[in-house]
Symmetry: C2
Subunit: 340 residues, 2 copies
């Protein structure tokens, strides 16, 4: 690694002059500045970014915590974040909480101690206490939450209207003639699984379909295997169900797989709607009707909000928090009947 | 942000004493050290990690460059890397080259200027010049390549035997009776697409099946859409083809989708084998016969090698490079005939 000292020795000038020349100080002659720049380039000198960071108090890195990387939706969010971050010269430190509150807390501490310029987070399912998040804000580190958020934490958020989207999905099942509609819901804590459940329930009530809590199945890890398992349970418990609204596509694909195995016809016997619009949803058969959740746009928007806060903080402006709600739409495919 | 100065003021002692106490210097009394530690904890003091880094010359971060994040194989590699890095207290800066040599080069420069402790990389398809990589090694920053590697660069590598795996896939098509076997190959430059092509060709030769270059289709972006496109081309050009070995699952799934659309029966008319074993391969119909590529294990192994080099460098040991070749296996599903 080439140092300022080596450049100074090569040119026979002082280290201070080299340092000043590289910072384009006017008290070093233009000629010397040019010479130092060229020598530095020739020797492939790289400024020590930690020293630079100490000086500018900017790390030009942001932290990103997501529950899961191997996940179509989150990986599209990450892609959106990185696409914007690169444009602005920021590096992204990606960490995976694996849905664990303890890990998430530890990661927040790590990121703060690394003095990242800002943090983007989508909460773990296990997170019910938000002290680690308020700590970020008290620390004056910009924080933006997306997708799985804590409503009570005061910071900018990028979300979709989960309740509205779930209502739309359930309404569609009712429109095509479903009378007994089940719901595979997500875990108890995350706001998005609460909202999707409430949207489902509201659509039933508004259509004068009695709400039956035994038709709501509580999922834990939202996996393909859970989809198969609860499809099996449903067939045992409720032979009359003709529609299911499922919290996420991967689970819906598991359910379809089980129904195919048991020769239950989708959509003839059971109509299925998923949530997220994973790529996979379009290539399985029957292809899956689902709610399109704009992951890439969510990532882009979340970074943009964070970037603005970082800039505002630097200019000592007062930071105002924003709630951005992105639009979703229902993508109708083969897992639901065409006719009304 | 709490500073040493504030702790000093609270306790009415000098900043130097606070600093020494936090570093557990024996010239500060045990009692004072304890008091400082407790006060620091109470005030939620966090050491400035940039200053700590300057002192220890370790950043406890590593850089990771991959061609694509929204990709089943790479996201499983990332997961493997992160799982190991977390155990050792390392943060991972993940960057996406988007298959661009220029971006990859820029990212290497960025990571070096951030003084990461090591770099893990899977090359972009566009990378043919390796100066940016030899620069990392000359810079004495540990470097480990995985999956898409440059054979001539001297560093540790974690790969699979692509040629052997492709040979196995092609041999399986021959074993089940295929006579005219096409190959959808990857771009010209990456070593893995060269090796998969060579494995395909060798299997034909060893089985006395004449090699016909018109049966080899050169893909560019390896997308689902390309799979559909080349399936269409193949049906126009070669009606007699009864088997295809395809460079990656996503393309194979595109091809199957097109064949289904055109009422070509898979595997009755055309047998298909993919590569990678994406999750999707198991849930589409017909499910896809493919080569299982151990992404998670590859990520774990790559980090372990990098970690060893970082430690060896610290202890001023001579670093020895290792080539690790992970095992692959053929997963037989519905897209190939059962009978021999």
């Amino acid at each position: 690694m080439v140092t300022l000292k080596q450049i100074a020795e090569v040119l026979g000038i002082s280290i201070t002059t080299v340092s000043k020349a590289l910072k384009e100080y006017p008290d070093v002659s233009k000629k010397t500045r040019k010479l130092v720049r060229e020598t530095a380039a020739m020797l492939n000198y790289k400024p020590n970014s930690f020293a630079v960071n100490l000086r500018t108090k900017e790390s030009k890195t942001i932290g990103l915590i997501i529950p899961e990387i191997m996940h179509h939706f989150f990986s599209s969010v990450v892609k959106g974040i990185i696409s914007q971050a690169e444009k602005k010269g920021y590096l992204v430190i990606t960490l995976q909480s694996s849905e664990s509150y303890d890990l998430e807390k530890k990661q927040i501490d790590l990121l703060l101690s690394k003095r990242v310029d800002g943090i983007l987070i989508s909460l773990a399912n296990g997170t019910a206490d938000y002290k680690h998040l308020t700590q970020v804000i008290e620390n004056e580190t910009p924080l933006v939450m997306f997708d799985k958020i804590a409503k009570t934490v005061k910071c900018s958020k990028v979300i979709i209207d989960d309740r509205k989207a779930a209502y739309k999905a359930t309404q569609h099942l009712i429109n095509i003639g479903c009378k007994r509609i089940a719901h595979f819901r997500g875990p108890l804590l995350p706001q998005n699984s609460i909202d999707r459940f409430l949207g489902y329930k509201q659509a039933l009530i508004d259509n004068h379909i009695p709400y039956d809590s035994t038709l709501v199945y509580l999922l834990n890890d939202m996996s393909f295997e859970e989809g198969k398992f609860f499809a099996k349970e449903l067939l045992k418990d409720h032979k009359d169900v003709d529609g299911i609204f499922i919290n996420t596509d991967l689970v819906a694909i598991g359910a379809i797989t089980e129904f195919k195995k048991q020769k239950i016809k989708v959509p003839k016997q059971i109509n299925i709607i998923g949530f997220s619009n994973w790529f996979m949803a379009s290539v399985i058969s029957p292809s899956l009707t689902t709610i399109n959740q704009p992951g890439f746009e969510m990532g882009k928007k979340a970074f943009k909000l964070l970037y603005k806060e970082i800039k505002d903080k630097k200019r000592k402006k007062i930071i105002s928090y924003k709630d951005v709600i992105l639009e979703t739409d229902l993508v109708i495919r083969e897992s639901t009947k065409k006719n009304y």
